[in-house]
Symmetry: C2
Subunit: 215 residues, 2 copies
């Protein structure tokens, strides 16, 4: 059956965003340090449409490629889609992701504001869901068919799905950084969530820890 999966970078002290998050700096102070292992990778540059052929290949490459395999639909929170304040009228704001977003699949955006679907180039259509996380998952599963549903974030959405017991697999990319404050992924989830370790991949500047949620 189709699985609900997500991946996120986490500091060794458990933060997925640094302190003092704001609209201008949603990742918080120091939060960009969580992703420094990712940016040099050839696979990252390719997914984000860089024209050049450069970039590194290391043990993280296959992990990152795996995140985009077998994905039939994507769920994301409102802040992952685009800025909170945009021109929502005749010239609707089209999100952070450009005309050809890297999803190439239906994307279900959790929001409080109903809106018509927005079809982009390359197979990405944004659907705006106002009925909560369970409805978004139902619609995403229906769109994904036999393929998986990828939870793109942000952290508060991932936490909601974890708390509701709806996540099947998660991969935490643990970086050797202490942020000392900010937003924690696993606060408030609690001991009732049972996890099974699937694998660990050591890579330069990061270790990827993958878990299955046991039922």
């Amino acid at each position: 059956m189709s699985k609900l999966c997500f991946n996120i970078a986490m500091s060794l002290d458990g933060y997925v965003a640094g302190p003092d998050q704001s609209e201008e700096n949603p990742i918080g102070v120091g939060g960009m340090r969580l992703h420094e292992w990712l940016f040099p990778l050839a696979v990252f540059r390719r997914i984000h449409g860089e024209d050049d052929e450069g970039g590194e290949v290391n043990a993280s490459s296959g992990v990152v490629e795996g995140w985009f395999e077998n994905v039939g639909a994507v769920i994301m929170g409102r802040n992952m889609y685009g800025p909170v304040r945009g021109p929502w009228g005749d010239d609707p704001w089209r999100g952070w992701w450009g005309e050809d977003p890297p999803f190439h699949a239906p994307v279900f955006v959790l929001t409080h504001h109903p809106r018509e679907p927005l079809e982009m180039e390359g197979g990405t259509t944004f659907h705006f869901v106002t009925d909560g996380v369970e409805v978004a998952l139902e619609r995403a599963r229906a769109a994904a068919g036999d393929r998986d549903v990828s939870l793109a974030g942000g952290a508060s959405i991932a936490r909601q799905y974890l708390a509701a017991g709806l996540v099947d697999e998660m991969e935490l990319s643990v970086v050797p950084v202490l942020l000392g404050g900010g937003e924690r992924l696993l606060d408030g989830i609690g001991a009732e969530l049972k996890l099974e370790q699937l694998r660990a991949v050591e890579a330069p500047g990061v270790t990827h820890l993958k878990y299955r949620v046991a039922r």
Copy 2:
């Protein structure tokens, strides 16, 4: 030069002991789940003097053996040494560890109560240090010579050494468990501590993440 090293088991949500710690249950509710990967190992049974030859060998075995290699002295907190209330008179309380403790080296116990050194079998002598973490480290380094100093815990002692910038290497054994509360190792350390990932070892039910503190 002699390094100050420690290892500790940590839940995926960052706890090294569960909630509701007490004198009777210093590891807190659910805290024993942090160590379930350890108990079946042959190396653990051997170190703790079990007579039988049984036990498992897996990828954790070499990691655990490494914790006892090249150790010239040990530092521990008062609660690691023994119960808080013991018969301290003519028949002094001799700690949790039995007549032949598994350290086979000088052990420096941080305490507020001065006491004569206590020599046990097998090369372990407990020294009681009332002058704080830096003095304990100086004395342990002097005793260790070229060998390393192992910080045996508990968590609050490890946190004090981390916060003081005195730790050289640490290995966190991350278990696929959420405790949802308790004592966190890395709270209050903050972003100024710079870490370098040395290695990651995937093993059944745990991943061992080893870091060097960068100066």
